[in-house]
Amino acid sequence: MTEFAQQVAAGFVNGCIYAMLALALVMIYRATNHVNFAQGEMAMFSTYIAWSLLEAGLPYWAAALAAVAFGFVAGTLVERVALRPLHGAPLLSIVTVFVALMIIIQSAAGLVFGHESHSVASPFDGWGRWGQGLLSGHALGTVAVTLAVLASMSAFFRFTRLGLAMRAAALNPLSSSLSGVNVNRVLMIGWGVAGAIGAIAGLLAAPVVFLGPHMMGGIMIYGFAAAVVGGIDSPPGAILGGLALGIGENLLGAYVTGNELKLTIALAVMFAILVVRPRGLLGGKAIQRV
């Protein structure tokens, strides 16, 4: 029983990280209807920024804040430089650009920071262990941060002018620009926020998986799968999908399939959802005008 509880707890924490990345994907999807394949690599690079600032002797929170700010700026830059010129371009061009960014950022991280993996300290280690030792301080911190980000994202999309403008711009760019929304600026901010959320996810993942140019490979597949399972346009869906995948992955790995097939499980789950219920568990139905 305790082993089972441990597996669930560990899965829950992994699920929070998947959920964060899925949230960033959802953010970009809602703003632009694109799936950002470079999301994981952008998060990885931001985490490297935090790590090098930590190495330079900055306190953790300052370094983390700088990394999140870097994520924001990088996101806006990617939108402005790489994607805006492609407005209305065929999907193939857009996917090609995302894949190119993914390869370039990963290689650049290897060039700049080298190949060794580094361990990154967790800011929550001082919290001790909770729930009869099931949850480490870092796990608890991860959960808290995820909930905070989800709450602020939901509030942002529902209650703020900017959030509403962003939803409008994604739904119908032309008529929202006619009603006074600065669509370009809104898109840039959407990308920036997604970059910042990605950076937070990277910071939360780094103490668990070690920092390295390839740290996000497996995590990102689960992030994609979480977004697809939950519905790629739904923030609560992303959280649900992330947690379900995190817990399911751990339980299946421990009791059914063994650890070698973790990625295959993500693939199978994603494919099954896409075929059976393409809009995901909580996603809205997409209606397309011909």
Binding site: L92, A108, M270
Partner: protein
């Protein structure tokens, strides 16, 4: 170029060139040329899917791996010699491509890219899994006896024979694909690429043709995988990482959506750039690949526009854009064909 010259003289010249190359080139360069041909075939397979049917796959390395393993299993059990495994590998990959492509036809653009990406990431894990170890050799893969020339051609060195048989397969498959693209299948693909709704309206069964495109393209890439096994006499799960799939995509970005000649140029690039770049740094290959993809998206359209403007300046009466006309006529043909 007139039509008979194009259909007979060009292939004859190519065949003569390859035969001469096989007899004259020293071992290493014969091997290099063969691996370029194999890469070109793989790029051609993905190009068919993307350029002709308009579907995006980030995971075609997986089909390359399946083809390579199919050949590896056949050769290691001594059921077939290496150069004869290609049809079996094509059949296996065509089937698995169809089985993957049939449900995937429900997935539009980015979702299909996602699903195929996950396939590329997950496949090496699956190949290493102990469950299949008796077939795949697990983590260490399969080491095969290098294939020599068959009886009667024993005067050829192994590399020369490999080049000849590879070239024969590659050109044969290119010819078949050309016929396919010029026939009803090609027209159906082009219509559903350009406008799926209109394609449905003129009676093209979108789902069937999308899955067929997936199967044909997977079979082509699988043939490349089988030829790769014949060349290297070795298959291991770590040769088929997601980077292979992405390199194929780089190849298509370089070759353009439909040019068969372009796939050879792309293969030369994919084959030599890593060699050169890794002398400087291991990471440079990735940066160069990414830059090439960005250039294909951002610079090529500029180049085309500039050339069109130059052409217009050269001939004052504005001629109709030939590409648009061609597309219109192919659409009309498709409507008639179906």
């Amino acid at each position: 170029m007139s039509e008979p010259i194009k259909t007979f003289a060009v292939p004859a010249l190519l065949a003569a060139g390859v035969a001469a190359a096989a007899l004259l080139l020293p071992g290493y360069w014969a091997f290099k040329l063969s691996s370029i041909l194999v890469l070109a075939l793989a790029v051609r397979g993905l190009q068919l899917l993307i350029g002709a049917s308009g579907q995006i796959s980030l995971g075609h390395g997986a089909f390359f791996a399946v083809g390579a393993y199919a050949a590896g299993v056949l050769v290691s059990h001594q059921w077939l010699p290496a150069y004869a495994t290609v049809p079996v590998a094509m059949l296996v990959c065509g089937l698995s491509g169809f089985l993957f492509g049939w449900p995937a036809t429900r997935l539009a653009g980015p979702y299909l890219a996602l699903a195929t990406f996950a396939l590329a990431v997950a496949l090496p894990q699956l190949l290493k899994h102990p469950m299949f170890e008796s077939w795949t050799g697990g983590v260490s893969g399969l080491s095969l006896d290098p294939a020599g020339a068959p009886f009667g051609l024993a005067f050829l060195q192994a590399d020369q024979w490999a080049l000849l048989s590879t070239a024969a397969w590659v050109f044969a498959i290119y010819a078949v694909l050309r016929r396919l693209l010029d026939g009803p299948a090609g027209l159906a693909w082009l219509t559903l690429r350009d406008h799926p709704t209109a394609a449905m309206a003129v009676g093209v069964d979108v789902r069937k043709w999308r899955a067929t495109a997936f199967a044909v393209s997977a079979a082509t890439v699988g043939a490349a995988g089988a030829l790769h096994t014949g060349l290297t006499s070795f298959v291991s799960p770590d040769s088929f990482t997601v980077f292979l799939s992405l390199s194929l995509l780089v190849g298509v970005a370089l070759a353009g959506p439909s040019s068969a000649a372009g796939t050879f140029v792309a293969a030369v690039f994919l084959s030599f750039v890593p060699d050169v770049a890794e002398k400087v740094s291991q990471e440079l290959t990735g940066v160069l690949y990414g830059v090439v993809m960005l250039a294909a998206v951002f610079l090529l359209p500029l180049l085309h526009r500039w050339r069109a403007r130059a052409a217009r300046a050269a001939s004052p009466p504005p001629a109709a854009d030939p590409i648009i006309n061609k597309e219109k006529s192919s659409n009309a043909d498709a409507a008639q064909a179906t």
